[in-house]
Symmetry: C2
């Protein structure tokens, strides 16, 4: 059969889903000699040996069989302890479910609440995978662009709530936000909570970057639904070990959900992944129990790199952005930029730096680029210098 015939035989959802601009950039530039890659949401540090070692011991020790579908009890307990320490209140391990990555936690959320034709409201620019997971499963993301005005990103709550229809099953909120760093205030979270309660729809939280929060008062996390919601209400939170503990390549995350959903989540996990390797979960226990200092160091490093990126990019003409107060990205608009995906490819080839194209983050994203700045200082400096030089060449060409 021809490729065209094969493609005609799969579902429209699978065929027509756009490629992720991040993946496309990464797959294009991945193996290019000398490239500095800032496209992905990951830092420069490998997983600390202290977290890897228990996984190694469990693997070599023969913990290589099927395991608990909800996650090993030790990890669910460690998650409860970690949350208790972070948010200063009690948590129950029965509200935690281990998944094969934060992405799979999101997929599980989608499978729990959104059937074919159902809608989930999502502010944009947003990490494209939430919308992608919805579309692939036959549901519909309803994107509500945030406004960038006077140098600040704002989410118009009236506009957000106006997007809710009888088909809406929930509001997805990523705070601190990837890519723009916008972070909901406690009052905004309360307004969203109250609206969702009133309409009987789900709060779908993505607080993956909550620890990467650069408040001015020594805060150790961003405002969170976990401070204002009950554990037993319509709240589902996806999270991951990837960012806090430099474990992107492990593919382990978790889902926080009402206890009543335990059997349903167990069934979904069974048909998604049939569980997460028990030996990897041993390493995750170590990350939670012994990773506070590592995380604090990472956050301090991220703040330093943010300041570096802000000062270097802030000096370039035609570049606009808000200084992010959370996550570890800088999302900046370039005057006159019309095709961010093409520009990203050119930057890979011509400047040997790898950015992510703004267009992949949905409405409000085109015209911008995203970098992940959680890199070694000298690497980040070199990457942004290359970009600055490239920009200068473009400007010279245009004025020539």
């Amino acid at each position: 059969m021809t490729p065209e015939q094969i493609l005609a035989a799969i579902t429209p959802e699978a065929r027509d889903e756009p490629d992720s601009g991040i993946v496309k950039a990464a797959m294009y530039g991945f193996t290019k000699q000398g490239i500095i890659a800032l496209w992905s949401g990951e830092g420069n540090l490998t997983t600390p040996e202290a977290f890897a070692r228990p996984a190694v011991e469990a693997l070599l020790g023969g913990e290589t069989f099927y395991t608990w579908q909800r996650g090993i009890p030790e990890l669910r307990d460690a998650l409860a302890r970690y949350h208790q320490r972070t948010f200063g209140r009690a948590f129950d391990s029965e509200n935690f479910f281990v998944t094969s990555g934060g992405m799979q936690a999101i997929q599980t959320i989608v499978q729990l609440v959104a059937g074919a034709g159902d809608e989930i409201v999502i502010p944009t620019p947003a990490w494209p995978n939430y919308a992608g997971a919805l579309r692939v499963s036959g549901a519909r993301p309803v994107e509500v662009p945030m406004a960038f005005q006077n140098g600040r990103w704002t989410l118009d709550l009236d506009r957000l709530f106006d997007a809710v229809t009888p088909r809406t099953r929930g509001i997805s909120l990523n705070s601190p936000s990837n890519p723009v760093g916008w972070t909901a205030s406690r009052d905004e979270l309360i307004a969203i909570r109250d609206f969702c309660r009133k309409h009987g729809i789900w709060i779908l939280g993505d607080e993956v970057y909550t620890r990467f929060y650069y408040g001015e008062n020594g805060e150790t996390h961003a405002p969170s639904f976990l401070e204002i919601c009950d554990d037993e209400e319509q709240l589902l939170l996806a999270n991951t070990f990837s960012k806090n503990w430099a474990m992107t390549g492990w593919r382990v995350g978790w889902l926080q959900a009402p206890r009543a959903l335990g059997p349903a989540i167990e069934r979904i996990i069974q048909v998604n992944s049939s569980g997460t390797p028990a030996f990897l979960q041993r390493g995750c226990v170590a990350a939670l129990d012994h990773g506070d200092q590592f995380l604090a160091d990472q956050v301090a490093m991220a703040r330093d790199r943010r300041d570096l990126a802000v000062s270097m990019l802030g000096n370039l003409p035609g570049i606009r952005f808000e200084v992010p107060i959370g996550a570890f990205y800088l999302f900046f608009a370039i005057e006159g930029l019309a095709d961010s995906a093409a520009t990203v490819h050119r930057l890979i080839d011509e400047a040997k730096v790898g950015f992510a194209p703004g267009s992949t983050f949905g409405p409000g994203g085109e015209g911008s680029l995203r970098i992940c700045y959680l890199k070694e200082r000298s690497t980040l400096e070199e990457a942004l210098q290359r970009f600055a030089n490239w920009m200068k060449v473009q400007a010279a060409r245009q004025s020539a």
Copy 2:
């Protein structure tokens, strides 16, 4: 909110999906002292150190970042080599996609071909997860019971083809079959292939147990779609490292698909798992390149245990089964058995042996139990002796 209110707020598919009888048995009996567990589809051997070691080295060596969405090139190449060696023809690494387990390969297949309301035809008794993955995603499994007559399982192809409607997107065929061990002949595979070609529907193959085939002529695999199909036709095969190389706990598998589906599969993998840990894939390369002897030993052991199970259960009154020629299960009917799930729970509590209930394998399954016999000889003997004793007590009670 009450548990009832929470449950009312998720989708009917997520709420009403039945629990897997295998998972339910395992979760019930998992931690019971002294239990011998034959419920899951896994052997007694831990992963050989030769396969684990490269994964350990990669993990400790810092291969802990995001990776290729389709799998690392080295593993895709190793898969092509393995298939070439096994089936005696050329394979292209571009037809192989690494997944986080065989289950996720199946989920990816479902997402590729079956949208809401679409149908997939599945012979039963069958491993429940294919149907589960379909239902959770809003599609519909159409189950066609095989016949057990004169001590043999047969698949009536006319009946199978009659189940195809305009909504049918494919036929799922698991051969050798979990749970009954039925194995399609080459002629049956050709008939199914020709029917699918004629109707433009997908062949969805599950040949996970193809190496566990107990032919009488020294065959090293069961008849396979890979011997009679083109790589570039409507054929999707799910497979796993779990069974051949004692790696159930690793959660790594693969999908074989036409090359034209590469970008679509990459997008689906991105929103399912965002890839499989690269360091684990290093171990899988070792399993493929250096695991032939281990696999041959496992198959020889499986054949020996099959003969043991057949002889022990064959001696019990009221038990009927076909001697399986593939996979590593014995699926046996017990005269008068009406509730296999309840019986499995009783066996856990009263006899300290863990079986899987026939009812979970769909139409034609109730009234039977399934064991996985790929265990140490003495363990299997002890388990079946416990079962025989328990049966004797039941018979004595009934006649008392």
